[in-house]
């Protein structure tokens, strides 16, 4: 059942999806204090493996240093060159591509070619900035804030839920990092409602889950949608039957709910299913660009049998193909939505089926400008069981007046 009865206001104005001023506000109040999903332990399997990315203007190099995961500024302290231009790779040491300066695991300079050119040396001052990295299951999170809540505090009760669907029993089957030509909120809001399914996924899902099939939970820092299984399309029923067989082979059990979609504010979304976990993190780049970090995990279980291995090897590509198809369909609508935002003269509106979008917009508004006074019915949302208690919420940094 939906928690609201009728229509809801579109809390955020179209300019919130296009303007630099609003974007800067979001970075300062929402993103700077947050933890961000930036990679997985599977991306950095071996010591020396690294990935690089840019987080809100900060170039970062994330490395596996003898099994520990550490993040450094990817800018050399010598002449400001990017240490490496590769998106991923493996190197025994952190070494700048320009003049070969090397850094150790604390960010201090190691070998510097012809060091007598740089006397007197100040190893303490000339060090790479480091950033906090913490993991939840196989997911690696990074915070640009040197102090602040730990990842566990930040995620609250969500931490265990998240860990359970990407721990060692799961194996990463797909990793994709892609730039999207739209504001970061566009892909998120799209994922928060099934209302678009008949138009955007006519073949794959066919119909949107009705109010009777839907459970919504709206929390101060997260929302949830769960549903039970009803075969609406042949794709779904075939998959469901196949899945039963796969689960038997891998030693997994069906659980309730059948499908759960969680949105952890601001930018992380997790689809939890019986034998698949889909993580979709959206990171803003500019008012009209963002990056999606996409990771798919398949349940592998602990059975070491040949059959289990073979079943997993056959099942994983199928899962990947289906996920890629759904994402591909969603991506076709992002640019049209963004272009519409830039031109819209309306305020927009939300239906009860889109109440998770409403809750998310309220969160953004609250962070950027304080509570939105829109006259909608908040009572329904506040009666649900808390996923995050208020103390943990308060640890997330100051809310602007």
């Amino acid at each position: 059942m939906f928690l609201h009865q009728g229509r809801l206001p579109h809390v955020l104005r179209p300019s919130c999806y296009t303007s630099q001023e609003h974007f800067d506000r979001e970075l300062a109040t929402i993103f700077r204090p947050a933890w961000h999903l930036v990679g997985t332990t599977a991306d950095l399997r071996r010591p020396g493996d690294f990935i690089t990315f840019e987080l809100f203007g900060q170039p970062v190099q994330l490395r596996n240093i003898d099994g520990l995961f550490q993040a450094f500024s990817n800018v050399c302290v010598h002449r400001h060159c990017l240490l490496t231009s590769l998106a991923k790779g493996r190197s025994p040491k952190i070494r700048c591509q320009y003049h070969g300066w090397e850094y150790d695991h604390t960010g201090r300079t190691g070998h510097v070619p012809d060091p007598k050119n740089f006397v007197p040396f100040d190893r303490e001052a000339d060090r790479l900035e480091t950033f906090r990295v913490e993991r939840c299951g196989q997911l690696l999170f990074l915070s640009l804030e040197p102090a602040g809540p730990s990842l566990h505090q930040w995620l609250g009760q969500e931490f265990e839920l998240l860990e359970a669907c990407c721990d060692d029993r799961w194996r990463q089957t797909w990793a994709w990092s892609v730039e999207l030509p739209c504001n970061w909120k566009v892909p998120i809001e799209n994922s928060l409602e099934g209302y678009h399914i008949p138009a955007v996924h006519p073949e794959t899902f066919k119909v949107a889950p009705t109010s009777e099939r839907t459970t919504h939970v709206l929390e101060p820092h997260a929302t949830r949608f769960s549903t039970y299984y009803v075969p609406w399309s042949w794709v779904e029923s075939v998959l469901h039957t196949l899945e039963d067989g796969v689960m038997r082979a891998l030693g997994a059990r069906r659980r309730e709910p059948y499908y759960e979609h969680r949105h952890l504010f601001p930018g992380l979304m997790v689809s939890a299913m019986d034998i698949a976990t889909f993580c979709y993190a959206v990171i803003p780049i500019s008012p009209t660009r963002c990056r999606a970090e996409i990771r798919l995990f398949g349940y592998r279980g602990q059975r070491a049998s040949l059959l289990a291995g073979a079943v997993f090897a056959l099942w994983a590509p199928l899962q990947r193909a289906l996920t890629r198809r759904v994402i591909g369909e969603d991506m076709t609508i992002y640019a049209p939505v963004q272009n519409g935002m830039a031109a819209s003269t309306h305020d927009g509106c939300l239906g009860a089926i889109e109440e998770r979008v409403y809750a998310f917009q309220q969160y953004v508004h609250q962070r950027c400008y304080g509570p939105a006074h829109d006259g909608a019915d908040h009572a329904a949302a506040s009666t649900t069981h808390g996923l995050l208690d208020t103390n943990q919420g308060a640890a997330r940094g100051p809310i602007p007046a």
């Binding site: 050399c76 302290v77 700048c96 320009y98 012809d114 050119n117």
Partner: protein, 387 residues
């Protein structure tokens, strides 16, 4: 020869100086508008009617041979603002606009105007194309956008005499290499001012940094230079063989081999390299805070007329030397965008080593000029400049 400085040096310019619009405007106003800019060589403008076009700091310019006299005029038609010529270089009997055929004479005054009576009364004085100062040194042609520029010899200083000989008779162009770069103009220049990056960036061409003992730096008010003996890597057998072959070539051309390598930077944006067989000049022309155009011209030894086998040998060597230069330039270019990206986001001040003291001298020169501008502005505007 030890370096001039005995300790490390500060990175004088902040990272913002490599992408900030306001800093760029200050540089244009204080360093670049008053300077002479290398636009071509006499060989490119040898016959009457030869012309080349270039955009200098936002101004389209046509440099043209008017019956043996070189002139620099605006390349924008006084009629409807079209570019008079779009080709980078070419030859035409008259300076004629490609749009409606207006013609101009060497002073910039209009000459023939098709259906001139449509424009009566014609004010030839008002329709005159702006003209710019032009000067030559050896075969090199320079243009200045300043109204009353200081003589070219003043900007080149001691390098003026060197250029007269090294780009004079006996030398012939063997390579012209032009690239648009999506980086601040100071990045390619600073990259050329130190050999510290050689092991990481040129492991196969230069191979090694000659190091302090084999380097000599000169830091002057308007220019700096670096001199060493070739090859850079003294223990490379292949380089030693190449050096011997070059020695034979130099003797065959009737000169004495020295194996010297000299690299000079004439502020703000002119680079020269000289070896026994190559004279190279490179102008890095800024086009915006993070865009620049690099134009490199290389000259090789050319004997007097009537020595066909020497001419042939000279041409062959010129092609070989051009290939090496292109290779080295591409190696350097690979890193430019990584440097620009790093500078865009850097939150550290940066450091310069003693081996990078020529960069320090250049940065100090840029900072001085821009700071003088700041000081001048503050005295005019008591409110000051807001950050």
């Amino acid at each position: 020869m030890p370096f001039v400085h005995s300790t490390r040096l500060p990175h004088v310019l902040p990272p913002s100086a490599y992408h900030d619009e306001a800093h760029y405007r200050l540089e244009v106003e204080r360093l670049l508008l008053p300077a002479w800019h290398l636009v071509g060589s006499k060989a490119e403008l040898s016959r009457p009617g030869d012309f080349l076009t270039v955009e200098l700091l936002g101004r389209p310019i046509q440099v043209r041979n008017f019956d043996g006299e070189l002139r620099a005029l605006s390349n924008v038609c006084a009629h409807r603002h079209a570019l008079i010529a779009s080709e980078r270089c070419g030859r035409s009997s008259t300076m004629r606009c490609q749009y409606h055929g207006w013609e101009y004479e060497r002073s910039g005054r209009t000459r023939r105007i098709p259906q001139a009576k449509c424009f009566a009364p014609i004010d030839r004085q008002a329709l005159r194309l702006p003209s710019y100062a032009i000067a030559t040194c050896g075969q090199l042609v320079f243009v200045s956008l300043a109204d009353d520029p200081a003589p070219l010899a003043e900007q080149l200083g001691d390098l003026h005499a060197t250029c007269e000989t090294r780009f004079g008779a006996g030398w012939r162009p063997s390579l012209r290499w032009e690239r648009e770069l999506a980086v601040n103009w100071k990045i390619p220049i600073e990259n050329s001012l130190e050999a510290y990056h050689v092991p990481a960036v040129h492991p196969l061409t230069f191979k090694a940094d000659p190091g302090e003992q084999r380097s000599e730096h000169r830091l002057e008010a308007r220019w700096t230079s670096f001199t060493t003996r070739l090859p850079f890597h003294p223990h490379s057998r292949s380089d030693a063989v190449l050096q011997r072959v070059e020695g034979w070539f130099v003797r065959a051309m009737g000169a004495t081999p020295t194996a010297n390598y000299c690299q000079c930077h004439c502020f703000p944006n002119l680079l020269f390299s000289f070896t026994d067989t190559v004279s190279l000049c490179q102008a890095v022309i800024p086009m915006g805070p993070t865009t620049a155009r690099s134009v490199l011209r290389q000259f090789g030894r050319a004997p007097a007329a009537g020595q066909p086998w020497r001419r042939l040998l000279g041409m062959g060597w010129g092609k070989f030397a051009a290939a090496i230069t292109r290779q080295i330039q591409s190696e350097d270019m690979r890193l430019y965008s990584a440097i620009q990206q790093g500078l865009l986001h850097s939150r550290v001040p940066g450091i310069l080593g003693r081996c990078e003291e020529r960069i320090h001298a250049f940065q100090a020169y840029v900072a001085r000029a821009c700071h003088e501008a700041d000081a001048a502005r503050e005295t005019c505007d008591p409110v000051g400049i807001e950050n």
